[in-house]
């Protein structure tokens, strides 16, 4: 259907464009039929980007192209986009069916269908058959969200744009609607741009995603790439939990590089450090920090733990700063005290005063006290940035 391109899109606010900069030179290509997500903290420019695509904002510089054709200055009504907002923005004075059919007042329904048929078809698509006569205020949050989606899709837009459509919903509903949205999107094969601040959601739903920060794109890639090979320290820390270390290079042993982490005299071995690097930042995911690893072992003093069903997430400190660890919950059950090494003990009594303030003894809390020794394979460390001696001077 449609390929979307942003070329050098810049948005400055202020009377003469000298005020705050919302977007700096954003280049982006969203492929035909792709589910593409813009993710980043608030104020990163993701919503501004979406609004520039929809035509609600005119970029100060740069070009927006739909299938190669520049639409930068076209009004929103001349663009054939469907938009779903965080607030849904349903028209409160129209019934559900009138809302869904609104776009068909101005755009022809798909060939061979009448407006009524199209509305029924869309309500069916979002599992709201027979709700057409209701008023929006008679619907639940999730139902409203689906009406907004049906309304955006009814005129068969070239592009579907979604601005944090799930953030007003509770977690469980969000997940089920997310699956439904993804199913509908892949069935219609509509090019979709999705904006969210929730990195987990972005990883779960996207074909590809862009991480934004301060109006710039930090990294574009498939979820797996972004998670495993973050290109910057920001992406490493923003997407998923991560442990980022800053270290100085001490020496090389073949393809391994020995580094000393700041604040600690412990030396680690890393793979894939470019030659000539003097300083290096690298990250290791919590799951890669294992108690049975042979290399790069260090002792962590445990502070708190969170029970998350299958896994236990544990937060602790070592000489080099704070660390996030992840354990298999099975290995921490009291029935298997041998699963813990080096004096670490696990309790499930929930009575710890630090994190069990409500004092409810439901056995749900997991706490590990004391120290644990973990290590990681050199290949599990991902190098983020390096500085050579020349750069530092």
């Amino acid at each position: 259907m449609t390929e979307l391109r942003l070329e050098g899109v810049t948005k400055r606010y202020g009377t003469d464009g000298s005020g705050t900069v919302a977007l700096r030179d954003v280049d982006l290509t969203v492929r035909d039929g792709e589910f593409f997500t813009l993710v980043g903290p608030s104020g990163c420019g993701k919503t501004t980007t979406l609004r520039a695509i929809a035509g609600f904002e005119t970029p100060t510089d740069g070009t927006v192209r739909f299938d190669g054709e520049a639409v930068t200055d076209a009004a929103p009504e001349d663009r054939d986009v469907g938009v779903v907002f965080q607030s849904y923005a349903l028209f409160p004075h129209m019934s559900v069916a009138e809302n869904v059919g609104y776009g068909l007042r101005y755009r022809e329904p798909p060939a061979g269908t009448s407006v009524d048929e199209r509305v029924r078809e869309l309500l069916e698509l979002v599992d709201l058959e027979g709700m057409g006569d209701r008023d929006p205020d008679q619907l639940s949050g999730g139902q409203r969200q689906r009406v907004a989606l049906a309304r955006a899709l009814a005129p068969e837009p070239d592009l579907l744009l979604l601005d944090e459509p799930m953030s007003a919903l509770d977690a469980r509903l969000r997940e089920s609607l997310r699956r439904q949205l993804k199913r509908i999107q892949s069935r219609l094969e509509i090019t979709t741009v999705y904006v969210t601040h929730d990195q987990a959601e972005a990883l779960a739903i996207s074909d590809r995603l862009a991480v934004l920060r301060d109006g710039r794109i930090e990294q574009v890639g498939r979820p797996r790439e972004i998670y495993r090979e973050p290109s910057t320290r920001f992406v490493a820390e923003f997407v998923g939990d991560n442990n980022v270390f800053d270290a100085s290079v001490r020496g090389r042993d073949g393809d391994r590089t020995r580094v000393a982490v700041d604040g600690s005299d412990r030396e680690f071995e890393l793979a894939d450090v470019p030659a000539g690097a003097e300083r290096v930042s690298f990250c290791v995911r919590p799951a890669a920090l294992a108690r049975d690893a042979d290399a790069n072992r260090f002792a962590v003093e445990i502070e708190t733990s969170e029970f998350r069903g299958e896994r236990v997430r544990t937060y602790g400190r070592w000489d080099g700063g704070s660390v996030v660890l992840q354990f298999d919950a099975e290995t921490l059950l009291p029935s298997d005290p041998d699963g813990l090494e080096n004096g670490a003990t696990a309790t499930t009594d929930g009575g710890t005063d630090d994190n069990g303030a409500d004092g409810v003894d439901d056995g749900g809390d997991v706490a590990i006290d004391g120290d644990v020794v973990v290590g990681f394979a050199p290949t599990d460390a991902h190098v983020l940035e390096t500085h050579s001696a020349e750069q530092r001077r």
Binding site: A54, G55, F56, A75, P76, E77, D78, R79, V81, G82, V83, F85, Q86, S87, A89, L90, F91, P92, H93, Y102, G103, R105, Y106, R107, A148, R151, A152, P155, P157, L161
Partner: protein, 634 residues
């Protein structure tokens, strides 16, 4: 280039032109509104200032200084203004006055025939020469105290008790505000006059008759002011009360506060701003009071407004202008204080958990508790104060001292059929009122809506627009009438021998529109402010042009506010008296309120009958607009 391509290009260029118009539409509308405001509001008021501050083309403060140092206007303060540096003398005078205060405590038996001595505190103040401005402020202060005293219990009941008709009563509190002042004044006359309903009732039990209006006109004027402003105080306080989060009271209770303390520590601080706002507004309105004092007190009870009107009648425009600018400066200062204060308060909204309301009379035992009896007593007083004058108006029009009569209406009919053309006849008055009302709607509604859009959209500069556009609330009708008379009706010479001049009727409509549009703005702005901008954007993404989105989405959603604003605008126009009486003087453009005032002579009957007609037309217009509002649903 293929034909299809060419068509696309054509469509684009036509689209570009209309898009240009759409983008500039708001600016153009704003420009138009600003032009109207400049011509019919700022220019006339400016002319009054020029009149007072210019002598033979050179600026002077002479006229103003004359007024300020005249004891007739400023009483004892005039000496202070005349010689501001003679501080010793002024302090001496103050000490002398304080020394003259005597306080006496006596035992008196207030109830005749019952030997019950009650300690009676008598404070004897030496007289102070207040002057015209002093007296105006004095009666405004008394009116404010009375309005707050009568309004607060109503707010307490409306906010804390549930009973049938509570919501209706709550929305009715807006009504007195738009009732014609002259009609209310005549209503009070019909109630408290020598042959009024109160004396008729007292006569039935062998008392009276008492000359309430003649012996204590100030008290009646203050009551009439309370009729207007107590509901305003109640309304503001109730909405503040309803926005108190019940959880904050519960938190205070859980932290150990008794119900009484929780009320004092948590609720009262949140009510005080609303009560002060109400009091400040009441003071502003009663400081600028005109028809009520004119009708009930006359010149013997003159306030600044009445005196200005009298000067205008005597064609002493210079003196009137000097007085007018002093009054305007004072009221503008007060209004500025009000706006500052209002903006300092965060916007009141319905609390997430509003305070619970008890049933007012759940059962007989509760109904007989002291608190419920007090509420009942207050209810009776309120009924007499608020329903009494209007009922008396209707009753008074059909009765004279001895019983039922149609004489008053017969007089109106006779005047209509046989009156000379220079005499005031009822049908032209009704026709003028309705015509001016409709014309006012046509001007005030678009103006009010445009100003709403500007204030809501413009963000920070919206505050400025709001303040400038709300100026009519701070400029009295009489001042405004003088400005229009001198500016537009007498005409302004333009270069090239032209003269900018409008007829009395156009000037009257201009005056009404300027007085009315703030009500439209006040009704539309809150709806517009809560409108989700994403709704318009959704409509546009679905293919609607900006204009279509306006018609499909924004207009239907603010329609109820526009209709309500229109109802107020019409009512304001029907009831406007202050500037109309000046602009219509000596012409056939008189409206119903002006006719009421002209009939108000020695015999009050015809005026009461005319006032009843005015009440009927006002009520009918509300019903009609309400019906129109009911159908206007998309």
């Amino acid at each position: 280039m293929s034909l299809a391509d060419r068509l696309v290009v054509d469509r684009r260029s036509a689209g570009a032109a209309s898009a240009w118009l759409e983008r500039r539409a708001l600016s153009l509308a704003a420009l138009g509104t600003a032009a109207v405001l400049v011509v019919v509001l700022y220019l006339p008021v400016g002319l009054v200032f020029v009149e007072a501050l210019l002598e033979d083309g050179s600026p002077t403060l002479g006229h103003v200084a004359e007024v300020v140092t005249d004891p007739f206007y400023f009483g004892v303060l005039a000496d202070v203004f005349a010689e501001p540096l003679a501080i010793g003398d002024h302090l001496g005078a103050l000490v002398g006055w304080l020394g003259g205060i005597s306080i006496a405590v006596t035992l008196a038996s207030p109830v005749p025939g019952l030997d019950l001595p009650v300690p009676w505190l008598a404070v004897d103040l030496p007289p102070v020469r207040k002057g015209l401005f002093g007296f105006t402020a004095y009666q405004a202060a008394l009116s404010t105290v009375a309005s707050v005293a009568i309004g607060l219990p109503a707010a307490y009941i409306l906010a804390n008790y549930e009973f049938r008709g509570r919501r209706t009563l709550r929305s009715l509190t807006i009504l007195p505000f738009v009732l014609p002042g002259i009609m209310v004044a005549v209503g009070f006359y019909a109630m408290f006059g020598r042959t009024g309903t109160l004396n008729t009732l007292l006569g039935a039990v062998g008392l009276g008759p008492f000359a309430f209006v003649e012996t204590s006109p100030l008290a009646i004027v203050i009551l009439a002011h309370a009729f207007y402003n107590a509901p305003l105080v109640a309304r503001l306080t109730v909405s503040a009360w309803e926005s108190v989060d019940a959880r904050t009271v519960e938190t205070a209770r859980s932290l150990g506060a008794s119900p009484r303390r929780a009320f004092r520590d948590v609720v009262v601080p949140q009510l005080v701003p609303a009560v002060l706002t109400g009091a400040l507004l009441t003071f502003i309105f009663t400081f600028m009071t005109f028809p009520i004092v004119l009708a009930l007190g006359g010149l013997q009870l003159a306030t600044v407004e009445v005196w200005i009107y009298d000067r205008v009648q005597r064609l002493a425009y210079g003196e009137a202008a000097s007085l007018a600018i002093l009054e305007t400066v004072l009221s503008l200062g007060l209004t500025y204080a009000y706006l500052r204060y209002e903006s300092a308060r965060a916007g009141l909204s319905q609390a997430p958990s509003p305070p619970p309301r008890e049933a007012l009379f759940p059962d007989v035992r509760t109904a007989l508790s002291p608190r419920r009896l007090a509420i009942l007593g207050y209810g009776l007083v309120a009924l007499v104060l608020f329903v009494g004058p209007l009922a008396s108006l209707v009753v008074g029009s059909f009765t004279d001292g001895s019983g039922f009569t149609l004489r008053n209406y017969a007089f109106l009919l006779e005047r209509q059929l046989e009156g000379a053309s220079f005499q005031t006849r009822p049908v032209p008055a009704i026709r003028n009122s309705l015509l001016f009302g409709l014309a006012t709607l046509a001007v005030a509604v678009p103006m009010g809506v445009v100003i709403s859009v500007l204030t809501v959209r413009a963000g920070r500069s919206g505050r400025l627009v709001d303040t400038l556009a709300m100026l009519p609330l701070a400029v009295s009708g009489v001042v405004f009438g003088i400005g229009l008379l001198q500016g537009l009706v007498f005409g302004i010479p333009l270069p090239g021998g032209w003269r900018f001049q409008v007829t009395g009727a156009v000037a009257i409509v201009a005056a009404h529109a300027v007085a009315a549009y703030p009500f439209v703005t006040r009704n539309v702005s809150p709806l517009l402010a809560t409108l989700d901008p994403a709704m318009v954007e959704s409509a546009r993404a679905l293919g609607a042009s900006r204009t279509r989105a306006l018609l499909d989405v924004e207009l239907p959603l603010v329609a109820s506010g526009i209709v309500a604003g229109a109802a107020f605008a019409f009512a304001v126009s029907i009831g406007e008296f202050s500037s109309t009486v000046i602009l219509a003087s000596g012409s056939e453009h008189y409206t119903m309120p002006v006719a009421v005032e002209r009939y108000l002579g020695r015999r009050s009957g015809p005026a009461i009958a005319m006032g009843t007609l005015l009440l009927a037309v006002t009520a009918a217009s509300f019903v009609v607009v309400d019906r129109v509002g009911g159908r206007y649903e998309l």
